[in-house]
Symmetry: C2
Subunit: 140 residues, 2 copies
DNA sequence: CCTAATTTGCAACTAAGTTGCAAATATTTT
DNA sequence: AAAATATTTGCAACTTAGTTGCAAATTAGG
């Protein structure tokens, strides 16, 4: 049962020159299916019957981040969130929005953020991430 | 020995209607003196001889955040950083910059970030924070 | 299918932060 | 200024998230 998704994940790994293992394919598929950022435990949960150790999942995420397939999401919570690096340009990721009322966080994939200047007093700025706060549609 | 700083801290607490205790004054003074964001352990260290339990420091920071005197800094590290809410407008905090080479994080107090629009598909946006990545003056 | 390189799982560990509760300290009332 | 009330503090124990070292298992390449 090699789905489209499965093939896609394998291809992504291959072109990143990463060993193509069950764990990595699974993690990548989970992120491809998700419509937002996920924590390690959420990924583990979605892997369901094929259980992987949390260490494996963390290390897999590290590799995926290292080759740029995945990003750490910029969310101020205790645990780390990871998401696919799609909808992200070289210089900017999509913003995350956290509701002040219900506390839920959403990815605003289609919102464009004005880019900052590339230099500031000797700092060379290569990438920016934005976090937003306010009221979500349900709470506004 | 009530310094200027001491008085200032006490005044801030009073106007926020917080009990004015040695711990709170100390934490606030540490943040007033610091030129950037600090972690709990860094604050504890700066309190020196007047030792306070870490629980107290965490709880103090919570109260200060709750009344808006202090903000959590948006830094992607394991520990949380806190900083005074000055140089921050109602809608925006100063950005934090992390160097890809040396890993150090700096507060860019004087950099202005273009503000985003106030509404997006039902989301009411009240506040934004920006994280920057690139090379710092020392590493560029 | 053999070999070398890489990844995995396990168990034990660390770091950061939290909880409940009695004692201590601040503020308000009298 | 003392008593009454409200809030904060310290302690010990605990939780949660993530990390390390290492032997066994898996993958990729000839």
């Amino acid at each position: 049962m090699k789905s489209d998704l499965d093939l896609k994940a394998r291809q992504m790994l291959k072109s990143a020159r990463l060993y193509c293992t069950a764990g990595r394919v699974g993690v990548l598929k989970a992120l491809l299916k998700a419509d937002g950022a996920l924590r390690q435990d959420q990924i583990a949960e979605r892997l369901g019957k094929k259980r992987f150790d949390k260490v494996t999942i963390y290390r897999t995420l590290d590799s995926l981040v290292k080759v740029g397939l995945v990003h750490k999401a910029y969310i101020e919570e205790r645990a780390r969130y990871f998401e696919l690096a799609h909808n992200c340009s070289e210089t900017q990721c999509h913003p995350h929005f956290t509701c002040r009322n219900c506390g839920r966080t959403h990815c605003l994939m289609d919102m464009t953020i004005p880019g900052v200047k590339k230099r500031h007093k000797g700092f060379l700025i290569q990438r920016q991430q934005t976090r937003l706060e306010g009221l979500c549609p349900a709470c506004a």
